[in-house]
Each structure stands twice: as structure tokens, then as C-alpha cells.
């Protein structure tokens, strides 16, 4: 054996020879390389490990710098890996890190080698294997090697520990269950005093936090301590980055007005510096700041303008973006001041908003969204124009990819669904809403899409039935239900099953909540479609001959749905709750300790997380107790409020504890009264303040539940205190009504309280209890039907409606 191998190794080109050879071959480099590759293939089959390893090294070189495929060397690499010699191992690991990937067939065989080397006593060997692991880890490897990793995390050798911490990150990514094993260890390392370990851990956390900030919120105090104590620049930078991700979630972390000022001062220094690097960074920072603090930019205006003439293209681009953001921001804010005081022609303004959202790199999406919805709600006359703009936005598939525009798109969808009667071509709208590219949108927005599609469908069917024709566009209408069910069910199931796979992590950055909502809405829509589809299809064939019975029922359903959707729901003012005077003798408790007492043993439904109101709305002293509750990442606003309604319906009850929780944040609150007079040519902008209406969150009251129970429950759960009034037409009546109610509340409440008040149930029922005269009861935005009135009359006298679980109105 020694003979031929000696000859081989004597004649084998080393890497150095290879490189020299390559350099000398100015012409025919390719030929030289192919010849060498041939040689390498032969050498690599040899049984002598040294020969193999040299060959491996050569092929790694070629692959790395000359981009040749080296997958044929995969198995030989494993053979070399089994050698006891350090140099061989090094070469082998290098080759493996370069070329192995998830679909390499021999990947499975490496597990044992890795395990052996991870447990080795030589720290450099361990380091080699750790490094390899970090590059090639997949689910299986991660799972199998987690225990070893865990041991290494607590190793004594600094060198090893540091690197183990970094590998942990990669392993977490691939195999989330390893979190359970390793996380505690990782957190303990945070308290380690050694600066190197600290920087490694902090680095890992900064990555983790980027992906899922909410789960790491409890660690904020530790991070703060590190920030204060650390002397290393690197560590401070990382910790600051962590905080920048955490800060939006925890209001108490960001009392930062003064620090912003300080930062802007520093930025100014950057901007005037000669070094182009600093200038560029300064501009970038200014742009980020400018989104919220326009004053920062105006202070630094001259410097900014001077940089326009700078030669560096980077700087120019940054500057242009900055300037554009400034301009857009100031347009939006001045126009929306004081209820759009200065705008005379709303049609033009709405089209301007549409165009603004199409500008590339537009960062003002949220503001535009708010304004679109706000104008839609307040200014009736502009709705046709609004629907037209919305249609333009929705049809364009290119916009769906742009994540800044999600807010705007959701506003557009809502507008077109709500005011679909103004649309010129609802079928086109329908197709736009259902186009396949909408799968790019997050679940919460798609839920809105589905809901709007529902509304449009109902509208179309209703108009067709109204006209009494056998549906002429029945062809497209047939396809639509099929399309909807295919689209909605496939997507929902797909997401749902994917969601069940993930554990601590959040799938695609979307919450359980959002997906549940989307799923539910899709189900609603599908249910409706299933119900009406046979009839719709039939009528186009038979022209409603003998399917009278069915036809009537279906058209009734369609009429009901249409009716439900056609009623306008305005927004609830922020001050609505405040305006309700607390009845005498009623004590509202701040936090929910009594609730704990009552339902401590009740298991909440597992996958949902609870939120006591929206964390971004900080009202009078509600303790932010959600830190103790394990939460998924932040919920989209609309889903939060709708979820609250959903829970109330199904019996899970949450005391709003002094705060109006149902306000859906999609709609900006109505402003406080500065009544503006609008003369005729300018469309009326509605105030929507004194009217205490049913919150917009309840968009879909269940029309089929015609029983008294359902109606009363809707009244109760719609607004706990005052029965809903119908919209704008009753502006004048509302104040009168409020007066009446106030009179009634006082005397009777005490008796009510005492009747109810025993230990357990009292706190649940200690809600605002309001009495109303039966004639005044408005259910679901319309006067009671005669049927409901008669039922009421059967109970004697005035009805006291208390909110309780008995599902029956109590009467005295």
C-alpha cells in the first residue's frame, strides 16, 4: 500500500501547485481547470486519506473561487472527516461547509461525526464542528444535536461557549423546539460578567428580537442593565438595536422626547462633517426621524439642501427620499387639520390621496389610510369618487406586493365594500378582490378583502333579484361562487394547518388571531354562497318556474343580508364612555382581580391570546398586565375589536373596566365639537360626535336571529350602556333620548343591585345598568318591529335590562 500511495502523493499536485499552475495559464485556463478536475476525481477515490484530503482541498478551492460544482466530493468529504488527524478534519469541514445543503443526500450521515466532534476535548475541533453545524444545520441535525449543544452552552472554555451561543441562533431557526432546552441557558448567560460572552449573547438576542419582538419583552430589564454597565461599543450598539425593536411594544420604554432631541443634535454634527460616510448615515437617520418629527428636518433644512449638490449618489438618493417624505407628510397633515377645513373640492383631494399612495417609497401609508376612511365616513357626497379611486387601487396587481400600501389597500377595500352601491361595475370589483395575488397580503387584510367581497356579492345578488330578471350575467356569477369557495377555503385551510405546525414562533409574522378571523370570514362567505348558489344557478335555467318555495326563501336571505349591510354604522367617539354617567351606587373596578376570583378555574381557549384593550391606546392608568400573559405578536387593530365582540357573543366576558374597549381603531375618533358651518357647494363633513352609536366593530349582526333573545342580546352587547341609535338622521333625537335615560336610571338601580348582589356573580354584573322605555328601544339600528314590540309589551311596565348570563331580560 505504501508504494502506490507514495507515488501518488509524490505526484499529486498540492493546492499550491494548482494555484501556481492556474496563474501561469493565461490562455486555456478552462482547459487547465478541467484537467485538474479530472485528476482530482481520480485522486479523491484513492484509499489514502492524505491524498483524498489534498484532493478535497483543491476541489474546495476550485469551487469557491472558480465556481465549480463539487457535489461529487460529498461522500469523500465524509470519509476524510472520519480521520483522526486535525488537518484532515479541518479540510473536510471546510469542504462540507462550502458544499453541503439541505438536499445533499449524504447529509444524514454526518450526524454521528458531528456528535463525536462536538464532544471532543480539543476546543479547536469543537469549534470546527460548531462552525460546520452553523452553516449546514437543518431540522434533523438541529434536533439530534441539541443535547450536545446544550452541554456546550455551559462549557468552561470561553472559546467554545461563545461559539456555541452563536450556533444556537441558527439551530433555533431551524428547529424551534430546541428553544425549550436551550433558552434558559441562554438567558443565564445574559448575566455572565465576561464581556465576550455577553457580546455573543446580546448579538444572538438582537437577531431573535428582530424576528419576534414580543416574546423577548420580559427580558427588557436585563438588557437595560447591560446597556448601563457595558463598556464595549459593540455591545451597546446591539442592545440599543434590541431596544429599538422592543420600544414600540412597551410604552413605558419610550419616554424619548429628550433623547430624540439629543439624537437630532448628533445627526446635525454628522451632516456637517466632511466624511461622506457620516453624511450619508446622518441623512438616513434624519429620514427615519422625519417620519414622526418633522421639526427635526426643518431645523436642519439648510444643511440638507447643501448636501443636494454632493457628488455621492447615495447621498442624493437619501436626500430625495427625505424631501419627498417631508412634502407628503406636510400635505397630509395640513389638509386633515380641523376636519379638512381647507378643502373645498373633496373629489380632487381623494384622487390626490390615491395618487400619493402610488408613489414609490411612499411611507405615509397609514396616514393615507386613516384619511381615506375618515373622509368616507364623514363626507357623503364624495363616496362615488372614493369608490372609483378605491377600484383603481384594487385592480392594480402591482400594488399588492408593496408592503407599505397594505394599509391603504385595506382602506380601499373597506370603502368599496361599504359603498358598493356607488360602484359602476361591481363584478369587476369582485374579481379584483379575489385575484390570486392577494395571497401576498397579511391575513388581517385579507380578512377585510373577504368581507368586502361578501358585501359586493350580496349587493349584486340583491340587485339582480330586485330587477326580477333571470340573472343575465349569470355566467360570471356562477363562476364567482366557485372561485370564492376555491380561493377562500384553500387559503384558509392552508394557513390554518401551517399555523398548527409552528409552536412558539409566529407563522409568517401573522397572528393566530388574524388568521382565525380570516378563516371565520371565509366560512361566513362560503356558507352564504352555498345557501344561495343552487338557487342562483337554478333560476338562470328554469326562470323561477317551480322552485317558488326555495326561490322565495333565498331571496329573503339575500334581502336580509343586503339590509344588514346597507345600514350605515358610524364610529364611536373616544369620549363616548365618559359621556355616560355612572349610575348611582355602581362601582367599577379598575383591574380584573374579581374576575380572577370567579373564573380562575376556567380554561381559556388555548390558541387565542387575550388582550385587555389595545396596547397602543394608553388610557387612565390601566395596568399593562399583559406581560404576565403569554402573547403572540401584536394583533391587528380591527381583529382585536372584532374578537372582543365575538367573545361576548359566545359568553366569554371581559369587563372593560372603565374604558371603552370596543372602539375599532380603523376609524379615527370623531373630534370634539367645534362646529363648522358648511355652505352649500362644499359637501357636508359630519361630526359624528354626540351620536352614541353601535360601534362599527359590529359590522355583521346576525340577521337570521330574529328572536327576541337575539335582539335583546344584540342591544346589550352592542353597547353596554345606551341602546344604539340609527345613524346620522337621528342627530337631533339622540340628545333628547340621553336625557330620558338618565332620569330613569337613578331610582331603580339600587334595588337592582341588591337583588343581584351576592358574592360571586356581583362583579360580573356590576356593569352599567340602564333602563329604557320600551318604545325607545332601537334594535340594530331600526325601530322595533311590531313582533318585538308585542313581546315586550307582555312584560309589565318598563324593562330593566341588566347584563347577565341568564340571557333573559329581567323585569321588575
Amino acid at each position: 500500500m505504501s508504494g502506490p500511495s507514495l507515488m501518488d502523493s509524490l505526484f499529486q499536485r498540492s493546492l499550491e501547485d494548482l494555484i501556481k499552475g492556474l496563474r501561469q495559464q493565461l490562455i486555456g485556463e478552462q482547459a487547465f481547470i478541467s484537467k485538474s478536475l479530472e485528476e482530482i476525481r481520480n485522486e479523491i477515490k484513492s484509499t489514502d486519506l492524505s491524498t483524498k484530503s489534498t484532493a478535497l482541498l483543491k476541489v474546495s478551492y476550485l469551487s469557491n473561487l472558480h465556481f465549480h460544482d463539487m457535489s461529487f466530493a460529498a461522500f469523500p468529504a465524509l470519509e476524510v472527516l472520519s480521520s483522526p488527524r486535525f488537518s484532515h478534519k479541518k479540510i473536510a469541514y471546510h469542504a462540507i461547509s462550502l458544499s453541503f445543503h439541505d438536499s445533499t443526500p449524504v447529509l444524514l450521515l454526518i450526524t454521528n461525526h458531528l456528535r463525536k466532534d462536538l464532544n471532543s476535548t480539543n476546543e479547536f475541533v469543537v469549534r470546527l464542528s460548531l462552525q460546520c453545524l452553523s452553516r449546514i444545520a437543518n431540522v434533523d441535525l438541529a434536533r439530534d444535536l441539541t443535547p450536545e449543544l446544550f452541554t456546550l452552552l455551559s462549557s468552561n472554555k470561553l472559546y467554545v461557549r461563545k461559539r456555541a451561543i452563536d450556533v444556537v441562533l441558527r439551530v433555533f431557526e431551524k428547529y424551534p423546539d430546541s428553544v425549550r432546552v436551550c433558552f434558559k441557558c441562554l438567558v443565564e448567560n445574559l448575566e455572565n460578567s465576561d464581556p465576550q460572552i455577553l457580546s455573543a449573547v446580546v448579538g444572538v438576542f438582537s437577531e431573535l428580537v428582530c424576528k419576534d419582538p414580543r416574546s423577548y419583552l420580559p427580558l427588557a430589564p436585563e438588557f437595560y442593565k447591560i446597556l448601563v454597565d457595558s463598556k464595549s461599543n459593540w455591545v451597546s450598539i446591539k442592545v440599543l438595536k434590541i431596544f429599538s425593536k422592543l420600544a414600540p411594544l412597551e410604552p413605558s420604554l419610550s419616554e424619548y422626547e429628550s433623547s430624540v432631541r439629543f439624537a437630532v443634535g448628533k445627526v446635525r454634527e454628522f451632516l456637517v462633517d466632511e466624511d461622506p460616510n457620516l453624511k450619508y448615515l446622518g441623512l438616513q437617520a434624519l429620514r427615519i426621524v422625519a417620519e414622526k418629527h418633522l421639526w427635526a428636518v426643518s431645523e436642519n433644512k439648510e444643511v440638507v439642501i447643501k448636501s443636494l449638490s454632493d457628488a455621492d449618489p447615495n447621498i442624493k438618493i437619501e436626500l430625495l427620499r427625505l424631501v419627498m417624505a417631508m412634502i407628503l407628510g406636510s400635505i397630509l397633515s395640513t389638509c386633515s387639520r380641523n376636519l379638512y377645513e381647507i378643502i373645498v373640492d373633496f373629489d380632487w383631494y381623494v384622487s390626490l390621496l390615491g395618487e400619493m399612495s402610488r408613489i414609490p417609497h411612499c411611507q405615509m401609508g397609514d396616514e393615507i389610510e386613516n384619511q381615506l376612511i375618515d373622509i368616507g365616513l364623514r363626507v357623503k357626497d364624495v363616496r362615488p369618487e372614493l369608490v372609483r379611486i378605491a377600484r383603481d387601487l384594487l385592480i392594480d396587481p402591482a400594488l399588492l406586493g408593496n408592503s407599505f400600501l397594505h394599509g391603504v389597500l385595506s382602506a380601499a377595500t373597506w370603502a368599496s365594500g361599504e359603498y358598493v352601491d356607488f360602484s359602476r361595475n361591481p363584478l369587476e370589483l369582485m374579481e379584483a378582490l379575489l385575484q390570486p395575488r392577494t395571497s401576498l397580503l397579511p391575513s388581517s387584510i385579507r380578512a377585510i378583502y373577504i368581507q368586502s367581497a361578501f358585501k359586493v356579492l350580496v349587493f349584486c345578488l340583491h340587485t339582480c333579484f330586485m330587477r326580477g330578471e333571470s340573472i343575465a350575467p349569470s355566467a360570471s356569477l356562477d363562476n364567482l361562487p366557485a372561485g370564492v369557495s376555491a380561493y377562500a377555503s384553500y387559503e384558509s385551510f392552508d394557513d390554518f394547518s401551517v399555523e398548527n405546525g409552528a409552536d412558539a414562533t409566529v407563522v409568517h409574522g401573522q397572528t393566530h388571531e388574524a388568521m382565525m378571523w380570516k378563516y371565520k370570514r371565509a366560512q361566513n362567505l362560503l356558507g352564504f354562497v352555498d345557501l344561495t348558489k343552487p338557487e342562483v344557478l337554478n333560476s338562470s335555467i328554469q326562470e323561477k318556474k317551480d322552485s317558488e318555495g326555495k326561490g322565495v326563501e333565498t331571496s329573503k336571505i339575500i334581502k336580509l343580508m343586503h339590509y344588514a349591510f346597507s345600514k350605515e354604522l358610524g364610529s364611536v367617539s373616544l369620549s363616548a364612555q365618559v359621556n355616560v354617567s355612572v349610575p348611582y351606587g355602581l362601582m367599577l373596578k379598575e383591574n380584573l382581580s374579581d374576575l380572577e376570583m370567579i373564573c380562575g378555574d376556567i380554561e381559556p381557549s388555548s390558541s387565542n391570546s387575550f388582550s385587555f384593550g389595545n396596547p397602543n391606546e394608553e388610557k387612565d392608568g390601566l395596568s399593562f398586565s399583559s406581560l404576565q400573559i403569554n402573547e403572540d405578536s401584536e394583533q391587528p387593530h380591527e381583529s382585536t375589536s372584532l374578537l372582543a365582540v365575538h367573545r361576548k357573543r359566545h359568553g366569554l366576558y371581559y369587563l372593560p373596566s372603565g374604558k371603552s374597549e370596543i372602539i375599532s381603531n380603523d376609524y379615527p375618533p370623531a373630534n370634539d365639537p367645534t362646529k363648522t358651518d358648511h355652505s352649500k357647494p362644499r359637501p357636508v363633513v359630519l361630526k359624528l360626535d354626540e351620536v352614541n352609536e353601535k360601534p362599527v366593530a359590529m359590522k355583521q349582526p346576525d340577521p337570521r336571529d330574529n328572536s327576541l333573545l337575539g335582539a335583546v342580546r344584540d342591544v346589550l352587547f352592542g353597547s353596554e350602556d345606551i341602546p344604539p341609535t340609527s345613524s346620522q338622521s337621528n342627530l337631533s333625537n339622540s340628545s333628547k333620548r340621553k336625557g330620558k335615560e338618565k332620569q330613569h336610571t337613578d331610582p331603580r338601580v339600587e334595588s337592582k343591585e341588591s337583588a343581584v348582589g351576592d358574592g360571586n356573580s356581583s362583579s360580573r354584573r356590576r356593569k352599567t345598568i340602564v333602563k329604557v322605555k320600551r318604545e325607545d328601544i332601537e334594535v340594530q339600528g331600526r325601530k322595533m318591529t311590531r313582533k318585538e314590540k308585542t313581546l315586550f309589551r307582555k312584560k309589565k311596565g318598563t324593562v330593566v335590562v341588566g347584563i347577565n348570563h341568564d340571557k333573559e331580560p329581567r323585569s321588575l
Partner: protein, 166 residues
């Protein structure tokens, strides 16, 4: 995290390439070509940062430094700070200098494994583990000693048999 480290010369030849996320070789080649195209069109005294999104995908930035005939390029995402990475390039070059005594391009060409070793000591799995060039040097020297030791064992039997076969 650091996504990639590259060293290329002013003619576009790659002298060092390390990617911390798996990419097939064709893709790697494409990326490097793209970066080179951007780099050679940069003027002298402009900033050292490039927005690499069109080449590398979302959330990527690029810092480069021009030394003599070489461009040192580091690609990273938003969890790293630009100025810090600029500093890192400095550390890398200083370490190379210490290791090869006045490093030049040829040193990097002929010392493929050593350069990789140095880089691996500095950046591990996309994270920066060591920023002190003396520490890096120490570790690299240890590793070279280990390698030399393990290679030395083979020479004796082979030369013995070779001697015997004569």
C-alpha cells in the same frame, strides 16, 4: 447577521468569498459579478456604503473598502451597524497584515486555507465573535501548530518506507 464576505481585485477576480447563507455556486458567481459592477463605478471619495437590495434581496446592506488593488466587501442585514462593520473590515485587514507581514494580494492568493481560518476566527455563523486582532492571531497560530503537528506524523512512516523501498 453578516451575510457574506468577499475580497476581489480591481479586475474582478475573486480572491476570497464566503457566504453565510447557502447559495448554489452559480448564484454566488452572479452576485459577485453584480457587486463588482457596482464597485468599479464608484468614485474615490464617496461613502463606503451601498444599498445591496437589488443584488442580495431585501434588508441587505453592503460596506466596502478599497485597499491598493483589492476591494474588501462585507454584506450584512439591518441587525448590524454600518460603522461597526467598517471597523470590522479594518480589523480583518490588520490581522492579515500581522499574519503575513505587509500583506499583499499574492499572499491572499497563495494562502487560501489560512485566510479562511483567519476569517473564521473573526466571524462565526454570521455573527461577529472576535474583534481584537491579537486574539485572532493567537488562535490562528494555535491552529496552524495543530495542523503542522498532525501533518508531521505522516512524514516519518512515508519517508521510512520510501527509504526502505529504495
Amino acid at each position: 447577521m453578516i451575510k457574506a464576505v468577499m475580497v476581489m481585485n480591481t479586475q474582478g477576480k475573486t480572491r476570497l468569498a464566503k457566504f453565510y447563507e447557502y447559495l448554489p455556486v452559480e448564484k454566488q458567481q452572479e452576485l459577485i459579478r453584480g457587486i463588482f459592477a457596482v464597485l468599479c463605478s464608484r468614485a474615490e471619495n464617496v461613502s463606503n456604503f451601498i444599498d445591496a437590495e437589488s443584488i442580495f434581496g431585501p434588508d441587505s446592506r453592503l460596506v466596502y473598502k478599497h485597499f491598493a488593488t483589492l476591494y474588501f466587501v462585507f454584506v450584512f442585514d439591518s441587525s448590524e451597524n454600518e460603522l461597526a462593520v467598517l471597523d470590522l473590515i479594518q480589523v480583518f485587514v490588520e490581522t492579515l497584515d500581522k499574519c503575513f507581514q505587509n500583506v499583499c494580494e499574492l499572499d491572499i492568493v497563495f494562502n487560501y486555507s489560512k485566510v479562511h481560518t483567519i476569517l473564521d476566527e473573526m466571524i462565526f455563523g454570521g455573527q461577529v465573535v472576535e474583534t481584537s486582532s491579537s486574539e485572532i492571531m493567537k488562535a490562528v497560530e494555535e491552529i496552524s501548530k495543530l495542523e503542522a503537528a498532525s501533518n508531521a506524523i505522516t512524514l516519518i512512516p512515508k519517508s521510512a518506507s520510501g527509504w526502505r523501498s529504495r
